[in-house]
Symmetry: C2
Subunit: 205 residues, 2 copies
C-alpha cells in the first residue's frame, strides 16, 4: 500500500483525522462524510478526501465513510494498531504531567519507564511508575527494545540524552526541550515548544 | 513588507529559525550562514535561504547573516518584538507546568492570569500567579485586553472555554485538549497533543 511515498504533511494530518473519528465513534456514530469530518477538524472536505484517497478507496460517492473501518485503516497505516512502549526522560513538571496523562492508553502508546538524573527523584514513584537513574537509561532502553521516547529535560541536557537514546535504539523522539536535536537520518524527531506555536499565531494578529 | 501572502508552512518555520538564532546569540555568535543554521535545525540551507528571502534581503552572498539583525527582523515579522499577555485556562498538571515554565519571558510572552473552575484551586497561587474562577474569565480577559490564551482543560470542557475566550476577544488559542476546536475564521488555533505527534512518527517506524 505504501509503495508511493506519501508527503509528510499528509501523514501529519492523519492522526488528527483518526482522533476526530475516534471521537465520533465514542458518540456512537457509525458513518461520516468528508464534509462532517472537515467541519470538526477545520479542514476542507476536498482536502480530506484527497488525503484519504492516497491510501485507497474508503467510501462510495454519496454513502460516506464507515467510521469503524476508517479508524481501523488509519490505525493500521499509522502503526498504532499495536502498543508502543515509551520512556520519559526528565521528570520535571512536564515529565510528571505526561506520566500521569491518561490519553495515551487507547491511542497506541504505553508509558514503560521514567528517568531522571536527580538523585532526589530516583526511586520515587509517579503513579505506578518508578523513576530510574539516567545512568541506566541506555541499558534499560536496549533491554526492553524501546523505540519511542519523550524528552522533557532542560535544553542544556537534551542533546546528550538524545544521543544516549539513539545509541540505545530509539527511533522516535518527542522533544519538549526548546532546542533542535541532531540525530541520524533514520531517527524521527517531533518538537513540542509552546513558544514556537504561539509565535506562529502572533504573526497573524 | 507583508503585502504578498506568505504560505503558513513558512511562517511555521520562522519561530524555529528565531529560536536557533537566539541560541547562537547566547553563545556570542554574531554571524551565521544558511548552512550553519540548516545543520542546527535539520533543514536544508536552500530552504532556509528561500524562506528568509520572502521577507527581503538579509545577507550578501558569501558574508552570511548578521545574527542580531536577523533576530530583530524575525521578532518584528512574528510580532514578538513586544510582550503578549497570556492567560492559562485549566490548572491541571499541564497548566501548572506552563505557569511555572520560565521559557516564555524573553520570547514575547508573559503569563497574565490563571483560571480553573475547581473551587478547591480557585484562590491558590502558582508561583506569583493567583488562580481565578472561570466564572470571571470573560470579564477579566476583556478588561485586560488579552489576545492570547493557552487552553489546558479536559477535552469535554475545551469547546465551552474556547467559546468564552473568543467572545471575550481572544484571537490566538494554544489548545492542549485533544479535540479540534470550532472557532471563527479570525481566531487562530494551534494544537499540542503528544499523541498526534507520536503517531506521526510511528508511521515511519
Amino acid at each position: 500500500m505504501n509503495t508511493v511515498r506519501i508527503p509528510d504533511i499528509i501523514i501529519g494530518r492523519l492522526p488528527v483525522y483518526l482522533r476526530a473519528l475516534q471521537q465520533l465513534s465514542e458518540r456512537g456514530i457509525l458513518t461520516t462524510s468528508s464534509q462532517e469530518l472537515g467541519e470538526i477538524i477545520g479542514i476542507s472536505a476536498a482536502q480530506i478526501r484527497k488525503d484519504i484517497s492516497q491510501f485507497g478507496e474508503f467510501g462510495k460517492q454519496g454513502t460516506g465513510y464507515s467510521v469503524p473501518f476508517l479508524i481501523e485503516r488509519l490505525r493500521d497505516i499509522l502503526k498504532v494498531d499495536r502498543v508502543w512502549e515509551v520512556v520519559i526522560v526528565g521528570m520535571g513538571d512536564i515529565g510528571h504531567a505526561l506520566a500521569r496523562y491518561n490519553g495515551f492508553a487507547n491511542r497506541g502508546f504505553h508509558i514503560n519507564m521514567l528517568f531522571d538524573n536527580d538523585q532526589r527523584k530516583v526511586g520515587q514513584k509517579v503513579g505506578e511508575y518508578e523513576i530510574f537513574d539516567t545512568v541506566v537509561l541506555a541499558e534499560k532502553v536496549k533491554q526492553n527494545k524501546i523505540k519511542v521516547a519523550m524528552l522533557t529535560v532542560p535544553a542544556t541536557a537534551a542533546q546528550e540524552m538524545a544521543d544516549l537514546l539513539v545509541k540505545a535504539g530509539v527511533k522516535a523522539i518527542l522533544n519538549y526541550a526548546p532546542i533542535s536535536l541532531n540525530v541520524p537520518s533514520d531517527v524521527h524527531v517531533q518538537y513540542i515548544d509552546p513558544v514556537t506555536h504561539l509565535q506562529r499565531m502572533t504573526y497573524y494578529l
